[in-house]
Amino acid sequence: MSDHVLAEIKNLHTYFYLAEGVVRAVDGVDLTIKAGRTLGIVGESGCGKSITALSLMQLVPSPGKIKEGEITYYQTIHKTESASTSNVIEITKLKPNSRAMRAIRGNQISMVFQEPMAAMLPVRTVGAQIMEAIMLHQQVNKAEARERAIDILARAKLPNADRIVDTYPFQLSGGMRQRAVIAMALSCNPNLLIADEPTTALDVTTEAQILDLMRELQQQYNMAIMYITHNLGVIAEMAQEVAVMYMGKIVEQTDVASIFRNPLHPYTQALLRSIPQLDDVMARAGQKKRLETIRGMVPDPYSVLPGCSFHPRCPQFMEGVCNEVEPAVIEVEPGHIVRCHLYASRTTKARAN
């Protein structure tokens, strides 16, 4: 399909107002999600990647609030086979529990979490839960909904879908549960699937199966995927576009090849060097080597650092610049943006933050 924009996040700020202080979980994020494509969001725990996704669904848990920013969703309505119009929905203007928001959630955008059990009720069968989602958003009767549930389970490569439909979640293994959750998420043909670390709790072989399944289903359903993970390996396999987050901000964003071949932000570079690379290990053939590390640790989430939030850990720290001036978003090459003072001179198109 075309590269048309499905959702747009502009200048999103989601803050958590706690008794102890304000946590700026998401602090000025811009993202564009294109139909049928996969956007990977990568970062360490607490960088705001999950909260960005929850903001998109208007599911930010209390005491969190979307403080600022716009989230726009472009809904395509097929009037006839050929003609279709686009319906612009301002998600940030909808009330989290409004009918309009609920119509988007699950139907247009759905979500898969790390813990499959968290998304399922343990006391109801897998089929009943999928059927409920189908009947909530589509005008079908029970028999039809059941048929669709079996169909979708089969598409999620669950063996004996007609039997699985009547099992309870606890009767399934971890990998099968995650398949069932994916099936449930896909039951209403969403245009966007948000996957928040869906394979982190799984073993590598199962992970490979699930990733494969998600890619296949993406093709079938032509949906966009927003894939959130801390695992750079998984990002390399799944994403076409990658955004690297650090302390609530996107520090670098570009296509997947550039992020791995030509990382620009010192954080991205350090992150890539700090993970053991198999090719490298094999090339050393038994010789031991130290990994490169990022000094220090992620700061306290309550802290607001002046200048660039990565400056205390940055190997290319520039005194008087990085710790004072907040770096602007710089488009170093077309489609490759970075938030770093190092590239201030190489800018082709700088825009103030």
Binding site: E44, S45, S173, G174, G175, M176, D203, V204, T205, T206, E207, A208, Q209, L211, D212, H230, N231, L232, G233, V234, I235, A236, E237, V256, A257, I259, F260, R261, A270, L271, L272, S274, I275, P276, Q277, L278, D279, D280, V281, M282, A283, A285, G286, K288, K289, R290, L291, E292, T293, I294, M297, V298
Partner: protein, 352 residues
């Protein structure tokens, strides 16, 4: 030396015997039912495992969750009493002994030299004790040091793992996950051990912190002459830190070789599937990966023959009926597969 089994053949029968040698280790957990706790079956968590660890090296132990790798690690220290099997340890003070048979005093004695670090940096430290009490616990309980001497040693240990000795009076809640893992490491190293079972020591940590801890482990290994059994599920990490790697599947050891050999030229179909499944931080498209079908076997009710046969692409009739032996097919390379000699399996491709 005791009788020879196929596990330690000529290849590694050098002047020095291995520091640790595990033979036919089994741990069955009973499944109980009803009021009188009638035993109705067993979960065969570890079902006949053989391996050895040479002095000064790191042996990676990999496998999927529930394959028994953690239980194996715990049986070695007799943290869980094994159901059967032998765990021979070359103790620098006592000499070569079977840990599985030890009790009380002797066990405490040998545990000075065999220590353990845990996966969860939060659950493994008592939140109600200061660092001094935590790191000093083995020194005090094993009668190694007390009073001022104990404090000095704790300070020394904290310095070694990269923490400031002034932190001694603090409680664990003052520290982040990575720092807590360092505290756990200081506790393990306090009695100056020879051997460390590292049970997924970095899998709960963030990427950048993970690298710090892995480096620290390597540094300490060189400084203190440590030997590691590194239990983990992240194959890239295991490849990075281990000289040799052993692979477990449903309570059994299926393959053991040097890291390079195991990753580049695996001999067991399960290892091949594992290698193929590793997510690699490299966007180059690669050849179609091998996807395993079906589910991991239930250790309470494993299949006949080779446990892997229902999922194996190379299955033959013999695999369904006869359990293959864990044999050395080339020097230092052990495989448990009927077809190990004839199959030509692919490992991770070397792109460098």
């Amino acid at each position: 030396m005791t009788e020879q089994t196929n596990i330690h053949s000529a290849s590694q029968m050098q002047a020095q015997p291995p520091l640790l040698e595990v033979k036919a280790l089994k741990k069955y957990f009973p499944i109980q039912r009803g009021f009188f706790k009638r035993v109705v079956g067993h979960v065969k968590a570890v079902d006949g495992v053989d391996f050895y660890v040479n002095e000064g090296e790191t042996l990676g132990l990999v496998g999927e969750s529930g394959c028994g790798k953690t239980t194996t690690g715990r049986c070695i220290l007799k943290a869980i009493a094994p159901s059967s099997g032998e765990v021979w340890f070359q103790d620098p003070q006592i000499g070569r002994i079977n840990v599985a048979e030890l009790e009380h005093e002797q066990l405490i004695q040998v545990r000075r030299n065999m220590r353990m670090i845990f996966q969860d940096p939060y659950a493994s430290l008592n939140p109600r004790m200061t660092l001094l009490e935590i790191v000093g616990a083995p020194l005090r309980a094993m009668n190694i040091a007390q009073g001022k001497e104990l404090e000095d040693r704790v300070a020394e240990m904290l310095r070694r793992v990269g923490l400031r000795p002034e932190y001694m009076r603090r409680y664990p809640h003052a520290f982040s996950g990575g720092q807590r893992q360092r505290i756990g490491l200081a506790r393990a190293l306090a009695p100056n051990p020879k051997f460390l079972v590292c049970d997924e020591p970095v899998s709960a940590l963030d990427v950048s912190v993970q690298a710090q801890i892995l480096n620290l482990l390597q540094e300490l290994q060189e400084e203190m002459g440590l030997t590691y059994l590194f239990v983990a599920h992240d194959l890239s990490v295991v490849a990075h830190i281990s000289e040799r790697v052993a692979v477990m599947y449903v309570g059994k050891m299926v393959e053991m070789a040097t890291t390079h050999e195991l990753f580049m030229a695996p001999k067991h179909p399960y290892t091949e599937a594992l290698m193929s499944a590793i997510p690699r931080p490299d966007p180059t498209p690669r050849e179609k990966r091998i996807l395993l079908t079906g589910e991991v076997a239930n250790p309470a009710n494993p299949p006949s023959g080779c446990y892997f046969h229902p999922r194996c692409r190379y299955v033959k009739d013999i695999c369904k009926t006869e359990e293959p032996a864990f044999e050395e097919i080339s020097p230092g390379h052990f495989v448990k597969c009927h077809r190990a000699a004839e199959l030509n399996l692919s490992g991770v491709r070397n792109l460098a």
